[in-house]
């Protein structure tokens, strides 16, 4: 295990005019760590995720990422082309709505293969074999490889989106409510799959969710956001079992027991 973080975030803020998106957020993320960002709608968690993944530029603050050569690079000073390359190779982004992360009118196999071609793979047979392998890892039958995601159920589409993101062997994956909008039984299967993949591949991930059970299952660390600010952070089980901030106590006490 390395002693250097993968991502260093310092005093990151994003304002929409006078409205606060996220305010003064700082943290380090190490390889293999899963950080959950929780809070209700409007708490700034998605704004934070979009800033970190450079889909949005922050108003102030810095974020530096340790590239594969070991050098830290300031994300917001990279060229657009460099950022795009990072996005295609070393990072993944799993959207809440699979349609935002997939190409709905090309086949499942092409959705996975496209990311491979983007990093320079050209051998058709190899690409197809890797695609088949990844589809099976996300529990999609091989005979669906030529189907378009339009013909898939919500849970399958989400699993396909995950395969598309992980096929290039990224080191950091951003996830925005990855189980939102799915049936509970489908959620459990997906969470379980994600948990296994994250552990096996040693991925670092930042998972935005409003669901504390998802945070408990997937993450080791947690940040609780309210009104754009981080009100509490720490080990996930510590935050959930001994919440200290008033807002975290409210969130934890609002969970329905089954």
């Amino acid at each position: 295990m390395t002693d250097e973080p993968l991502l260093r975030v310092s005093a990151l803020s994003k304002f929409y005019g006078s409205r606060v998106g996220c305010d003064n957020v700082s943290f380090d993320l190490w390889p293999g760590e899963v950080l959950a960002v929780v809070g209700e709608s409007g708490s700034g968690k998605t704004t934070l995720l979009n800033c970190l993944s450079t889909r949005l530029l922050p108003s102030s603050g810095t974020a530096s990422y340790r590239m594969r050569d070991g050098q830290f690079r300031e994300l917001y000073r990279m060229s657009e082309a460099e950022r795009r390359f990072l996005m295609r190779t070393d990072w993944g982004f799993v959207h809440q709505n699979p349609a935002d992360g997939l190409r709905m009118t090309v086949s499942a196999g092409a959705n996975v293969g496209e990311r491979l071609m983007a990093v320079g793979d050209r051998h058709y047979g190899k690409i197809r074999a890797t695609a088949v392998d990844w589809l099976s890892r996300v529990e999609i039958e091989e005979d669906r490889i030529d189907d378009e995601p339009r013909a898939f159920s919500g849970g399958m589409r989400q699993r396909l989106q995950i395969a598309r993101n992980l096929v290039t062997g990224p080191r950091l994956v951003f996830m925005d409510e990855p189980t939102g909008g799915l049936d509970v039984s489908v959620q459990a299967r997906l969470l379980d799959l994600l948990r296994g993949l994250v552990t096996d591949l040693g991925l670092a991930a930042i998972v935005v969710t409003h669901d504390l059970a998802v945070a408990r299952l997937l993450s080791q660390r947690m940040m609780v956001m309210k009104d754009g600010r981080v009100v509490e952070s720490g080990l996930t089980d510590r935050v959930l079992d001994d919440p200290r901030a008033p807002y975290t106590q409210l969130l934890v006490s609002s969970i329905l027991q089954v």
């Binding site: 760590e33 459990a188 379980d192 080791q220 080990l235 089980d237 510590r238 901030a245 106590q249 409210l250």
Partner: protein, 235 residues
């Protein structure tokens, strides 16, 4: 005898912000140490703060005041002020914990639940599974259950999975929160044997045991937690 864990002047209270901020003091001035090769038992009635103390030592509860010094990979660490990343490393390498209840993960088999802490420490999965099988057999968990996720197991079966998971590694410190609460006599005896084996291996154990017979069989020392009642501080 080495002393791998020293607790000094630890205090803990809960502030209930949803109840007008009332403060519930739990324990204060908690000071003790545990020794390698011994089983120290926390004694006292329910509500005295025994579980809270264990949870603080595992980093599961925050600490208001004081220090928890643990010897970890050749150095000393104050768990009361350690970063989450450090606490995770201490859990992986130094402090093991058998909780009262098993938190199950959907679709993971009992065998893998037990093997997981060893795999996290870098053991080969098949070797870890071999050890998990041996422990589950020793704890008399029927073999037909090993491949199933423990969510639907009975309380006693889940507890045995939990015990096996806690005992499979060679953590130098092991915390036990009522590991025998829902076990029958035969399996209680197995746990007593497992604890004896840990002691001879030089592990420092700290536990809560309501069962009088178990406590008598394993305890080298009993710490009366009522001595740490917050009221005593003012007196």
């Amino acid at each position: 005898m080495p002393t791998p864990l020293v607790v000094s002047d630890v205090a803990k209270s809960f502030t209930m912000h949803l109840r007008d901020g009332i403060k519930l003091p739990v324990v204060a001035a908690v000071s003790f140490s545990i020794k390698a090769g011994e089983c120290t038992v926390l004694g006292g009635p329910s509500g005295a703060g025994k579980s809270s103390i264990l949870k603080m030592l595992y980093g599961n509860y925050a600490v208001d005041e004081g220090q928890i010094i643990v010897s970890h990979e050749g150095g000393l660490i104050d768990l009361a002020n350690a970063s989450p990343r450090t606490v995770l490393a201490v859990r992986r390498q130094t402090i093991g914990y058998v909780s009262q209840f098993l938190r199950t993960v959907p679709r993971v088999s009992a065998l893998d639940v037990v093997a997981e802490p060893l795999v996290e420490r870098g053991e080969e999965r098949e070797v870890a599974r071999g050890k998990a099988r041996a422990l589950l057999a020793q704890l008399n968990l029927p073999e037909k259950l090993w491949a199933l996720p423990p969510a639907t197991f009975s309380g006693g079966e889940q507890q045995r999975v939990n015990i096996a998971r806690g005992f499979i590694t060679e953590h130098p410190i092991l915390l036990l929160d009522e590991p025998t609460a829902s076990l029958d006599a035969r399996n209680r005896d197995v746990v007593i044997e497992l604890i004896a084996a840990k002691k001879s291996a030089g592990v420092a154990l700290l536990g809560i045991f309501h069962d009088h017979d178990v406590r008598k069989a394993v305890a080298d020392r009993v710490i009366d937690v009522t001595a740490f009642a917050p009221g005593k501080l003012a007196a």
